[in-house]
């Protein structure tokens, strides 16, 4: 029964990691950019949700209807300006620029909203859970996040394989020059990929705020988990990211089962093991995205 609990909680946590990581995976797969500011973007989305909704007179959970499109726009604009400029330079520069952005965002949040912890208020349902057995439980919020993660991944998959724009995104990811020769405006395609990535990160940030408290510095550790999920699952594989997230979540729950201090350590050890034994990840294919 303990093992069943590890699996269930691991899958629930893994769903959240996959939601957090799919934007990262998309940016990496298409733009070949590792966005080190990804985690901080999620935290910004959560702050916007908490501090904007009183002005809109809606329940905090519905703030995602505003924040998600807003972030898609931010992603497109940021890609067409700063990120594209750094891609034109060097992969090295993209790392430095996104790292710089991450530190700037974190410290701006600290100055504006202080280090106090916040939460996205979802009402009474936030504390409720379903008890199918005597020793394990399933939190409704976590279950909702898992469902959202699977839905986002499925929609992304459908978008990439069945729409014209999705095919363009895959074409640019596979071979930028060839796609360009066929008339694709790769900068615009990059912008679309970044917009999708930022929309998912906004969703992930709000989901994070509903599950637990967050502070300006919460981005870093979540980015680490998202990276681990992406690398364990295999770069560029969307469903691999879900499997990677679940594997990471299960490792963490398993570690925490022995000692709460071992939760993060178990995840890190799994990541390093995968790197040592199978660096391309479980479902890693270097070129394709879907």
């Amino acid at each position: 029964m303990i093992w069943l609990n590890v699996v269930i909680q691991g899958v629930l946590v893994g769903g959240f990691y996959a939601l957090f990581a799919c934007g990262l995976s998309l940016m990496f797969g298409v733009l070949k950019v590792i966005n080190l500011a990804h985690g901080d973007m999620a935290v910004v989305a959560a702050y916007v949700a908490v501090f904007l909704t009183p002005h809109l007179h809606i329940a905090e959970i519905w703030s995602l209807l505003v924040v998600v499109p807003l972030f898609a726009l931010v992603g497109y604009v940021l890609q067409r300006t700063l990120i594209q400029k750094s891609i034109d330079r060097d992969p090295f520069t993209t790392l430095l620029v996104t790292f710089g952005l991450s530190v700037v965002i974190e410290n701006l949040l600290l100055e504006i909203y202080t280090a106090n912890a916040q939460t996205v208020n979802v009402g009474a349902i936030g504390y409720e859970s379903w008890h199918p057995g005597s020793i394990f439980y399933i939190s409704y919020v976590s279950l909702g996040v898992l469902v959202a993660a699977v839905a986002v991944l499925a929609i992304l998959q459908l978008f990439l394989s069945h729409t014209g724009t999705g095919r363009l995104v895959r074409a640019v990811a596979d071979d930028r020059e060839a796609a360009q020769l066929s008339g694709a405006n790769y900068r615009h395609i990059f912008g679309i990929a970044a917009a999708i990535a930022f929309a998912t990160v906004a969703l992930a940030g709000i989901a994070y705020g509903m599950q637990t408290q967050f502070a300006p510095t919460s981005g870093g550790v979540n980015l680490l988990f998202a990276f681990e999920a992406v690398v364990i699952g295999g770069i560029g594989s969307l469903w691999g990211t879900l499997v990677g997230g679940i594997a990471l979540g299960m490792a963490q729950v398993f570690g925490a089962h022995f000692n709460p201090e071992y939760q993060r350590l178990a995840g890190d050890v799994l990541f390093l093991l995968v790197l040592a034994v199978r660096p391309q990840g479980l479902f890693g294919k270097k070129t394709s995205l879907s």
Partner: protein
């Protein structure tokens, strides 16, 4: 005959390290070294403590510059070795060794710990490498934080410093830090002027060509990673001695990486002077904005982003290209008696040629 002709027409080129007088540079360096050595006795104590933190940042940034600017490895996990250096110092001090004598020991420990880590990390390139360094530092933080002997997550007070008077401790700490910084900067200079420096320059300019010319890229990178780990370990050791309470969350903080990255980028990657200049700017900003919270980090980070995009050789790189001057030259310059200006081609830094090439790409 043709040989004679070409000989007559060939200009008399002279190849030199530097176009400033070495004697002038040496005199300037000696004056600076003497001043910084006696500084704690002649400047106010709060200045001495700023200088001490400045030296620690110079050590870290010089090591990061060696990793990223010369060997192309963008590490965002160098705080692993800062933390390990601090805790190695703590370990030896708890065993009864004089804290100041533990600094070289901690440096060696970090170099040894880096060896197995290189076998895992050096298989990875670019962004993968960066993420993996971060995970390694997180793992180190979690393991150290779980050891009760070191006080777990709350940390422990550095023993062995309580017998000295506060002013003695301050002076000794200053001198130790200054000495480590001096060794690190001079050591980096010597390293880059050696055969390894040439190997690194060839890898940076064209890795495939370097490989085909028989350069062992992997072992050069491994050596640089170990040297940078040792240097950051030394920085961690002096940090541990200078702020005697050691806590995992502060010594393993990613903030260290942020500072060393920004300082190197702003000062100028791929130059020895760059990280030092960047550190001066960092402390100037921090000291003048200290009543405004963390705004200095916001400004410094934005400045780093702007410089990475529009001035990738940093402030020192821009200055050097404008005035053709170097304080600590590691390359060679070719000069011609009939020309006042140094011909650009060969004296050009590899960063310049690298980015000049990349700029043209679509």
């Amino acid at each position: 005959m043709t040989l004679d002709n070409s000989n007559r027409e060939a200009p008399a080129l002279s190849i030199r390290r530097s176009n400033t007088s070495p004697l002038l540079t040496l005199t300037g360096s000696v004056v600076l070294v003497v001043f910084l050595t006696i500084a704690p006795w002649i400047v106010p104590s709060e200045w001495a403590s700023v200088l001490l933190n400045f030296f620690i940042l110079v050590i870290m940034a010089t090591m990061w510059n060696l990793l990223a600017g010369y060997a192309g490895m963008v590490s965002i996990g160098q705080q692993a070795f800062i933390g390990l250096g601090s805790y190695a110092t703590l370990y030896f001090a708890l065993k009864g060794v004089n804290p100041f004598l533990t600094i070289p020991l901690a440096t060696i420990v970090c170099a040894i710990l880096a060896i197995p880590i290189t076998f895992l990390l050096l298989r990875l390139r670019g962004g993968y490498f960066s993420i993996a360094t971060w995970v390694v530092s997180d793992t180190a933080l979690l393991i150290i934080g779980a050891i009760a002997y070191f006080g777990g997550g709350t940390g422990k007070l550095m023993p062995g410093l309580q017998d000295l008077s506060p002013s003695q401790t301050a002076h000794y700490t200053y001198l130790a830090t200054w000495l480590v910084a001096l060794i690190v900067v001079i050591g980096t200079y010597v390293l880059l002027r050696s055969r390894l420096g040439l190997v690194l320059a060839s890898i940076r300019d064209n890795e495939v060509a370097a490989r085909s010319a028989g350069v062992n890229v992997q072992s050069a990178r491994r050596l640089i990673f170990i040297v940078a780990a040792a240097g950051c370990g030394a920085a961690g050791a002096v940090l541990a001695v200078s702020q005697p309470f050691i806590q995992p969350s502060s010594v393993f903080n990613i903030q260290w990486s942020a500072e060393m990255i920004f300082v190197s980028m702003i000062g100028g990657l791929g130059t020895i002077e760059g990280p030092i200049i960047g550190s001066i700017i960092f402390f100037a900003l921090q000291q003048s904005l200290q009543q405004y919270g963390v705004w200095y980090l916001v400004i410094f980070g934005s400045l780093a982003v702007v410089i990475a995009l529009w001035q990738p050789r940093g402030l020192w790189g821009a200055f050097r290209d404008r005035f053709h001057t170097e304080l600590l030259p590691v390359g060679y310059r070719i000069s011609h008696p009939t020309m006042d200006q140094v011909p650009r081609g060969l004296a050009r830094s590899s960063w310049q040629s690298r980015f000049a090439r990349k700029k043209d790409a679509p």
